[in-house]
Amino acid sequence: MASDRPTHPIGRPVVHHDVVCPFCGLGCDDLTVEEEPPSTLAVRSTDCPVARERFSHTPVAEPPRVAGVPVPLAEAVEAAAALLGAAQAPLVAGLGTDVDGARAALSLAERLGAVVDHALSDGLYRNLAVLQRTGWIATTLAELRNRCDLLLVAGPDPAALHPRLFERWVAPAPAFQTPPSREVVFLCGEPLDTTRAVLSGLPVTVLPGDPARTGDAAAALAAALADPSRAAGAAGIGAGDIAALAERLRTARYAVVAWGAAAFAGPHADLTVERLVGLVRDANRHTRCAGLPLAGHDNIVGVNQVCTWRFGVPLRTSLAGGTPRHDPHRFDWARYAAVADVVVWVSSFRPEVPAFPADTTVVALAPPGTAFADEPAVFIPVGTPGIDHPAHVFRSDTVVALRGRGLIDRGLPGVAAVLKAIAAALPQEAPAC
């Protein structure tokens, strides 16, 4: 909101309070951000490395480029439209953008008959594959904070990707449980030092185990629920530890099993998720238990929500054939990039664009200062949602959408505006129903 933007007192930093952080999907909305005119931002209220790093990356605007040559925005838009109009197998991906940017990207993709995917959808797909195959029992962050008396963290510490998870959602005592107690168990993963520090007031158990065999540990736990005395060891964790944890799960009032699927290594990591989901389901025969599948950087959850409501199917979908065709294997952007002739890559949250095969024509929308392995055919610098313009982003738990506000004005266009302009420059077609 432009009206929210404080005017600059001469020579003094402007302080923005209660800023929404759009980056990792935890939905922190309590940031204090200092603005050093003209456009330098510094997060003052938290040590979160994601927030600190991302908010501090606000170089001044630079002009768009076509074939490496600086041009006005209108010219870059025309050039992009010309390249896209001739595309045979276009890919619209990256999709690091807010809800409005996603709407514009998906509309453009529909117009082009393109394949759509998000840069970070590997982790999301490990979760969605299981949701689509078997369903699950899940929960949200405020339920975790207020009701959970036993948190089981499966696999590598998700705080590596979601730094304030424990501080904001686990360290406070549960408000809606009697007694208001909580304990935390790390299974097949060790807490980071920062996590240990945040949880210093809570009982924490670490069962290190083999992270690559987190699924085995989940299966052993599930098997032990009916009769913990018959527990077997798994993933390097002894039978006694599995039995004790199974017993603890059975007697918990509201257990939460959390995982960050992006951190699961190896092929078919969705099978790890499936076993965790199975453990949660089985635990509900005895008490209440719910999963917390984390995946959320760069608004991937929000972009997937928009895609699902727009087309009835999630990302990794081809819009080439009239009706959307979803195929999580075939339309994975990393695979499809090998055959795509033109790629529209959107990355407004981070100055990173992957390398594409040499004969691929790339139209890149990314922050100023983005380094490219190969100069793209068209580069249009864009603002960052929640920094340069108001933006809707979703939290990782898929339920809560937040609206970040614009903090600074670097004169950068938003993704939605650029993609709408490109779509408008294409030959028009009547929309079908």
Binding site: D18, G27, A138, A142, E143, A175, R288, W309, G312, T323
Partner: protein, 549 residues
Amino acid sequence: MLTKLAGGRIYDPANGHDGAVGDLFLQDGRIVADPGPGAAPDEVHDLTGRVVMAGAIDIHSHIAGGKVNIARLLMAEEHRMAAQEPCGCVGLATPSTHATGCRYAQMGYTAAFEPAMLPSNARHAHLEMADIPLIDTGGYLVLGNDDLLLELLASGAGEEAVADYVGFMLNATRSLAVKAVNPGGINAFKYNQRRLDVDENGPFHAITPRRILTALAGAVQRLGIPHPLHLHGFNLGVPGNVEATLDSIVAVDGLRLHLTHVQFHAYGAEGDRKFSSAAARVAEAVNRRPNISVDVGQIMFGQTVTASADTMAQMGNAGLAHPKKWVMMDIECDAGCGVVPFRYRDKAFVNALQWAIGLELFLLIEDPWRIFLTTDHPNGAPFTSYPELIRLLMDRDHRLARMAELHPALPEHTILGSLTREYSLGEIATMTRAAPARILGLTDRGHLGPGAVADITVYTDRPDRHAMFETPDLVFKDGRLIVRDGVVVAFLQGRTHVVEPAYDPKIESWMARRFDERMGQRLTHFRIAEEEIRGGNGLVRHACQPGAF
């Protein structure tokens, strides 16, 4: 531009027209009075012999929000099959936003309301509803399992404080009405209770469902919200649940109450199969009490998916999932969601009786102003089955023929065969246009009088009512022709209907503390700004009248 719709048979129950021939004039998106013989319309549609009604309004259809997207994800099979079709969006249980708007408009509907918007998910629901083309939308806010309300009640707060809380929540989430889903039950499920009786204290907060129900009905009355409390009752789908349904009617003690998808709450536990129709008992209670309205939630046979905030009930149904997969979610200390795919089979006794119970309710409840045509989309069936449902109501022979194809034991368990009532066109117009607008407080919709928004549907009067209502000849939205002969000919954006009841803002400081301490979210960020709804364009506010109802 002046448009004349000439010589149609006008069914406009709100203004006393029951098929009399007349003209309508449209200007600037509204219906205007006959400008007199000197006026020269820019456009004239000759509607001689055609049936003209206001655009239809669906008061209960799950069209947007988190559970709808989960249902879409879970129903991957139907989308895979749809991708084989030339136009893959026909009749899906989980259509895209685009298909939702198109299919509604193609059936002559110009508004549909999402009846289960969770406070924490309201922003999502609004973002999604804005992507539904052609029709107006709005959401009913789910309250009654929110820990904050239960805390407030447990603290002994009076009616005024409860009304302030509800008033704040409706404003903050840009909602049109209040919905209660199994009040107290969803919260209890989070403490592993799989059942909660109406007079049983729930866990932790120690509040009874009856107390929650009466508190919310009272708050709605106090705030003067046009739509009565929209209640998804107790023990959904459980044989014998009629007792709790009748109890709810008594509990509100004369306050207005809307019982939604009442078919799922009109079950007895009698007979050889311990599952029986209690439609007659519900209908009798509704007929006697003008403060009660219902929508039916008719089931139709085929594959669909059930999506509800009622995790307690849905967990109980999860074993019946078809295909065998389901999702439950505990949500953000305000409710939950349960998504269970389901196939209603016409040869299954239980499903056949559900079908009959729904039709019995339609035919036994006398006042078409207080009963609404819904399938609780997609829970009973996709909304695209409305034309067939209308035919079942209007055509007894068709009804009997269909009944004969169902489970053979059905006839001895239902009085449906003996019910001779056939709905008239005027009654259909009441039930799907005039009455929904009136019960939602949409004063300039659902009728065809001067000043009304020019949302109009024109049909050819066919004996096959299914065919008639499936493919209207013309549909106007805001005075623009959007559908001709069942084909969408123009796209436009609908509007979002809301109420903004007055409340004492003192409640906000208590809530702001609670949000900081519990929800990990600032209250200021929870509140949805006007410019967030359709980019600031398209909010329609409806007046609240404290004490008027």
